[in-house]
Each structure stands twice: as C-alpha cells, then as structure tokens.
Symmetry: C2
Subunit: 373 residues, 2 copies
C-alpha cells in the first residue's frame, strides 16, 4: 500500500493537482486526477459531527459504560495523529472536505450525523442535538448549492418527538431522508414502539438509511476481542440482524412503501437472499397462515436500496447488480473513515457500462433521496 500511495502521489503531482492535493495527501491518499465525466459523483454515506454531539459523546466516553461505540470517542481525548485527523474531518465541512471532494471530482456528499448519532443520549438531549444537527445541515446545504444533501437525525428514544422532527426536517428544512444507526438501547425497528417513525418515513416518502453501529448488548459479548466489533464482523452482524428482524417481523406488510437504505453492499443480505427465501418457504409455505403477504426476499427487493460504502470490490459490485438490479445500488465513500480516492477509482474503473455507472454515481441517489438536478 505504501508503494501504491507513493505512485498516486507522483501521478497527482505530475497532473498538476498539487494545490488541492497536498493537504489531502497528508491524510494518506493522493487524490485521483478528476476527469470530465458525464455524471455527477454523489456520495451517499458521508459522516459529519456537530460540536454538541462531540461534546456529549465525549462526556459518555468519560463514564464507565462498557460500550464499544464509545471507543472512538474515548480515543479523541488522546493526541494520536489519525484520531485527531478523524475528529477534525468529522467536524469540518467547508475546509478539507470540500477540497477533498474537488480534488477527487466528487460533486456531492449526502451528509449524515456520524454513528451512533444521538442514540446513546437521554431522550431530551437526543431530541435537542438531533434538531440542532438538522438545522446545521440545512444551512450547509443552502450555502453550497449542489454540493451537499443531508439525512436528518432523529431521536428514537422519544418516538413522538422523532416524528415531529422528521416532518420538520423534510417539510421545512428540505432534507433528503433519515439516518438511523442500528439499535437504540438494544432495540430494533421491528419493535412496535417505533412504528410511528416508520409510518412517518413512509408518509413523507423519504428513506431511512440504517447505518451500522457496534453490536448491541444482545450480540457484543461474542466479538469484544480482536477488534471484531468493527466492520470486520460486528457492524455487519448488528445491521444485518436489524434488517432481518424487520424483514421477518412483517414491518413491510404494514408499511409497504417504506424505503430502507443499507450501506456496505447491503450488510451481507444480498449474499443470503436465496437461503433466506429457501428457509422461509420451508417454515411458511405458500398458502400457510403464518406467511407474510410480502415474504422477506420480495420485501428486500421492493423496500431496500444498498450502497457501496466501504466495499470497493468489483466482484461484489457485479454480484449485487446481478442480484438486485443496478437501479438499487448507490455509490458511497464513508468519508472520513474511508478515503475518497480509492472509492472513486473503484467506481470509475468498475467493469460496467457507463450508463450503469451514471445510475450508481448519480441517478439512483437523485431518485431515492429526492435530490434535484
């Protein structure tokens, strides 16, 4: 990787993109030299933090709560370079982030409050910090036309307040959907207490992006070692548990037009669709009383869209296009946790027709998130 990085730095220097490039290159990846292309590159899972979130998560980090999601925030109290870079990059919108976008030919970030959002706070704090973050987002989007869209945070701890904030975020702030970081206090969206939230998302015709967080207490004890609460296991176990519970509980019979977005190539679910369908059919054969009107595989195809965040793998991309249809795949970087340049190189060079590249980079995101042209 060191060699690869040096090679791209040399290429970037040779291409004359030094001015914007050097700051970004300090963070470890030289930018790609952006070519003129016939599409907008819209990145759909891009994280930011507000000072209020950072402060409140820092306070939790100083507690004795043995929750793996707090590890990141605890590390921000140190002085290690990479963690300080992350902290700065999460809080920044218009400095390094826009420069990184420009240097890599990224037109737009769809921003979302970084995991675990407001979901570890008491209800009152969560409601307040979510509203402030949404106001902040709306301001950023207004001041940088065409460069940002935003997913609204909400506080599942208070479903009625969450619904009010969701309505405000779409109707007044013109935000583009909602971000939920998997479980809230070890509960998932199949729990009927959250149905008003699902109903609101459906009525407002905006998707909920279910983003990973570290595994809930129901899962975490198996993966505390080896860094496994991360995307090496814990993130996809947690988020696939969440999505599978929704698919099997009948949520999508009740809310047939609800749209859910999953990152990380669908958190593994596209790989399992055949087996889930096969076992579901054995448990609940066609015609049986317990069979859902929309069985899980059909609901996944109808109600879910996935993004490429964190998985720059052309084999997986080929698979998900075959499995789900190109119209259900969107591009994402996962900035600043992942680097922009490899994500752009991956999608620029993916072995697909340019018409599909345009769908994944642009058209699907415009449709799903109601982003204007």
């Amino acid at each position: 990787m060191g060699g690869d990085r040096r090679t791209f730095l040399k290429l970037a220097l040779a291409a004359g993109s030094l001015a914007e490039g050097t700051r970004v290159a300090e963070a470890g990846e030289a930018p790609v030299a952006p070519a003129k292309v016939a599409w907008r590159r819209i990145a759909t899972e891009e994280a930011f933090a507000t000072p209020a979130q950072m402060e409140a998560m820092g306070a939790l980090g100083r507690s004795t709560w043995n929750n793996p999601d707090l590890a990141l925030w605890r590390s921000f109290t140190g002085s290690r370079g990479e963690r300080m870079r992350l902290r700065r990059a999460l809080l920044d919108i218009t400095d390094e982030r826009l420069a990184d976008m420009d240097a890599n030919g990224v037109d737009m970030h769809v921003l979302s409050l970084t995991s675990p959002g407001v979901q570890m706070f008491d209800a009152e704090t969560a409601v307040r910090i979510a509203a402030e973050a949404n106001d902040f987002l709306a301001g950023i989007i207004e001041r940088h036309p065409g460069r940002f869209a935003g997913l609204a945070a909400f506080a599942p701890q208070d479903p009625a307040a969450a619904v009010r904030e969701m309505e405000r975020a779409v109707r007044e702030l013109k935000l583009n959907g909602f971000i939920l970081n998997s479980h809230t206090n070890n509960e998932y969206l199949d729990n009927p207490k959250y149905f008003p939230i699902l109903e609101a998302a459906e009525a407002l015709d905006r998707p909920i992006y279910i983003h990973p967080r570290c595994p809930s207490d129901l899962l975490v004890e198996g993966c505390r070692e080896y860094g496994m609460t991360s995307g090496m296991w814990g993130f996809y176990a947690e988020t696939s548990l969440h999505a599978t519970r929704m698919l099997l509980s009948g949520v999508f019979d009740r809310f047939p037009r609800l749209k859910i977005v999953l990152g990380h190539m669908g958190e593994g679910l596209p790989y399992w669709l055949w087996r889930i369908g096969n076992i579901y059919d054995a448990f609940h054969p066609p015609g049986s009383a317990t069979r859902l009107r929309t069985p899980p595989v059909e609901a996944f195809r109808r109600n879910f869209v996935i993004t490429t965040s964190g998985v720059n793998d052309p084999d997986v991309l080929t698979y998900v296009i075959a499995k789900l249809g190109v119209e259900n795949v969107m591009w994402a970087i996962d900035y600043p946790y992942e680097r922009t340049a490899p994500a752009v190189r991956f999608m620029d060079s993916a072995p697909i027709p340019d018409a599909d590249r345009r769908r994944i980079y642009q058209a699907n995101a415009e449709r799903v998130f109601h982003i204007g042209g």
Copy 2:
C-alpha cells in the same frame, strides 16, 4: 413451488424413474432423472444421527435448558409428518438415503453426525457417543464401497480425549476429516484450550468442517424471535463469528497447514473479504508490530475451502469462484434438511465449464477429504 414440484414429478414419471422415485417424492421433491455424466457427484455436508445421539439429545430436550439447538430434538417427540421424516432420514443410511442418492445420480455422501453433534453433552458422554458414531461410520463406509465417506466426531469438552479419537479416526478407521458444530459451551476454536485439536488436525492432514449450530449464548438473545436462530440469520452469524475469531486471533500463524471447511457458501465470509482486509490493514498496517504473519484474507484463501450446502444460487456460485478460485469450492446437499434434486439440478445447470463442474462435484472433495478414486 407446488407447481414446480408437480412438473418435476410428471417429468420423473415420464422418465420412468417411478420405482425409486415415488418414495422420495413423498418427501416433497421428485428426483432428477440422472444423466450419464463424466464425474462423480460427491456431496460433502450430509447429516446422519445415531440412536445414542438421538436418545441423549432427546433427554436434553426434556430438560428446561433454553437452548435453541434443542428445538429440533424437542420436535421429534411430536408426531408431525415433516419432523418424523427428518428423524427417520437422519437415522437411516441404507434405505431411503441410498435410494435417494441412486434416484438423483448422487455417487457419494460424505457423512457427518448431525448438528450439534456431541457438543452439548457432558464430556464423558460426548467422548463415548463420538467414538460409537465413528465406529458406525467406518462400518457403513466399508460395507458400501464408493458410496460413503465420513467426518469423525470428537468431544471438544475433553481436548486430550478428542485428540486421541481424531488419531484413531484417521489412522485406524480411515475417516476423511472432522466435523465440529461451531461453539462448544459458548467457546470457539481461537481459545488456546483447543489448540491440541487444531494441532492434531494439521498433523493428520485432515480438514475440520465447521458446521453451523444455533448461536451461542454470546449471540442468541438478538435472534430468538421470527425463527432467526436458523439459517435465516443465526447459523451464519454463529459460524462466521467462529471463523472470523480464528482468522484474527493468529490461529493460522500457529497452524499454517490447518484446513477448515465452511458450508453455506463460506458462511458469508467470501462476501466480506475485501472489507475485512481493508479494515485489518487500517488497524494493523504492513510493518506494524501487531500484524499477523498471515493476515485474515490471506489465511482465508490459504486455509479455507467452502461448500455450496443450502445455497443453490448460481449468482453466489459465480461470485465465489471468481473470489476464491474453483479449486476451493465443493458441492453439498445438506441432506436430509435440504432436498437432493434441487441441489443436483443447481450444480448440473450452473453456468460454468464442465471441467469446473467436475472439480466442484468430485475432484476438490477427493483432494480435501482424501477420498480414493
């Protein structure tokens, strides 16, 4: 599915395979009409039970232990048709099983004691039932030349006894490898207490097939509803947890020639290789003190072989061949939990060259399990 089944029953009747076919068709799937082919169809994850295992699991089932693996065995006390069929099929080798193999052109079952094997018993009972099962297996294989191979059970509860049984199973009984049904009392093979077992498998040059069981206590609370302890989520969560712990713990630095087999298209790990490698490299960059000699992705490619059990999906097959190489994929049915005919139809019609079909049906299994020609 009903229509599909009827169509195949008609085809089977038309093809004159009625004699062997009707018994099998009663169980819900008409056999494929076996064509003359240039390979042996070797099925590599085929379950059986011994009366002693059935009795001892039944006794556990009458306890109050709230363990999801006991649900199957509790259901055997009822009189429901499908469960009685399963019980009979697990205990049978030479009656319906051989007929089903013949009717579908399946040459060989690689047999293994059905999940959770002996792993829920006290150590003494486990050692005894494993040894009896292995003796039984050796007898079956001897009496039906070319029709069966077998994976030896062992009792991880007593690692020293397990090693002795593994040595006996290979050297005296000529069995072909080992079966382990994921966790034992909520512990995984990364636990150093089990290293003698890994050392023995490596020294004997025989693979350990890590088969699913329901999630351990570390995972189970998240998936007790909706039938999710099954292959719809729990099986792959449990088994991928097991394999990922091994990959990240350094087990394969210590035992570089250890061979692990995973069913169900690799329990999801092939889908995640890019992301696991990406995050591992970020946590443990090349040259860092904590980096394993053989990082997880390289260890997966070197030490793991997968089977198709329970996933008759040509898209997934195409993906795993591209990702792992065709030499690392074997065919399996998962009899009697899955039907033979669809698994044969799937592999007979998979969009791959016949040379690859022969590898997946035959050559890879002969190599991995040391099966004679």
